[in-house]
């Protein structure tokens, strides 16, 4: 059972455009939602994370929007650049022995054309 559902699977955006990746979860016990970025041939690296006490978190060109009632969160990349081309994973975890691990979405391969 997929704990975190991510869409789209792939995304092509023009340089300067906005990239939007969406994730949804079912388990209301999740309370930590990180996004990881993975470049080809590398391991994933934390990009930005949010907890449900806020609806939005911004770090530079990257923003997470969080909708607790809808159990959805999304990553927005403003002014997308070719260097942003990578695979992006949303994830969720909860504070418990069973949920205390990262459950990853299936990833979105982002390509930003110059």
């Amino acid at each position: 059972q997929q704990q975190v559902k991510q869409s789209p699977q792939s995304l092509i955006v023009q340089k300067g455009g906005i990239s939007i990746i969406n994730c949804a979860y079912e388990n209301t016990a999740f309370d930590y939602f990180p996004w990881y970025q993975q470049f080809p041939g590398k391991g994933p690296a934390l990009l930005i994370a949010i907890r449900p006490d806020v609806s939005e978190k911004k770090e530079g060109r990257f923003t997470i929007s969080f909708n607790k009632s809808a159990k959805q969160f999304s990553l927005h990349i403003m002014d997308s650049q070719p260097g942003d081309s990578a695979t992006y994973f949303c994830a969720a975890s909860g504070v418990s022995s069973t949920l205390g691990r990262l459950y990853f979405g299936r990833g979105t391969q982002l390509t930003v054309w110059p």
């Binding site: 993975q38 041939g41 391991g43 934390l46 994370a49 504070v95 691990r101 299936r106 990833g107």
Partner: protein, 115 residues
């Protein structure tokens, strides 16, 4: 100054062989992980150790056996390799156990191909 390192980077082997992947972290973290990333890039946790103690053991064939000789090292031994074991295996570490929801630092991955 690599934070999480893995060896080897590539591993090509025949079905039925036994192989090991080594992981070391120099971050001083107490928790280490093994993840498997399949051909469709799906990332799934396999094992986690905290202070050399196994804390997460997902549904993984018992042909896979992790070993943590000390807090800085977590090795993965795979017996009787099968075609379906072909994947990229990532080691990761964090300061605290995963329920503390801290950043996990991933290694560069080991690309395993079973022929």
């Amino acid at each position: 100054d690599t934070a999480v390192s893995q060896t080897p980077k590539y591993l090509v082997t025949q079905m039925g062989n036994d192989k090991s992947i080594k992981c070391e972290q120099n971050l001083g973290h107490d928790t280490m992980y093994w993840y498997k990333q399949d051909s469709k890039k799906f990332l799934k946790i396999m094992f986690s150790y905290n202070n050399k103690e196994l804390i997460i053991n997902e549904t993984v064939p018992n042909r896979f056996s992790p070993k943590s000789p000390d807090k800085a090292h977590l090795n993965l031994h795979i017996n009787s390799l099968e075609l379906g074991d072909s994947a990229v295996y990532f080691c990761a570490s964090s300061q605290e156990p995963p329920e503390y929801q801290e950043t996990q630092y991933f290694g560069p991955g080991t690309r395993l191909l079973v022929l």
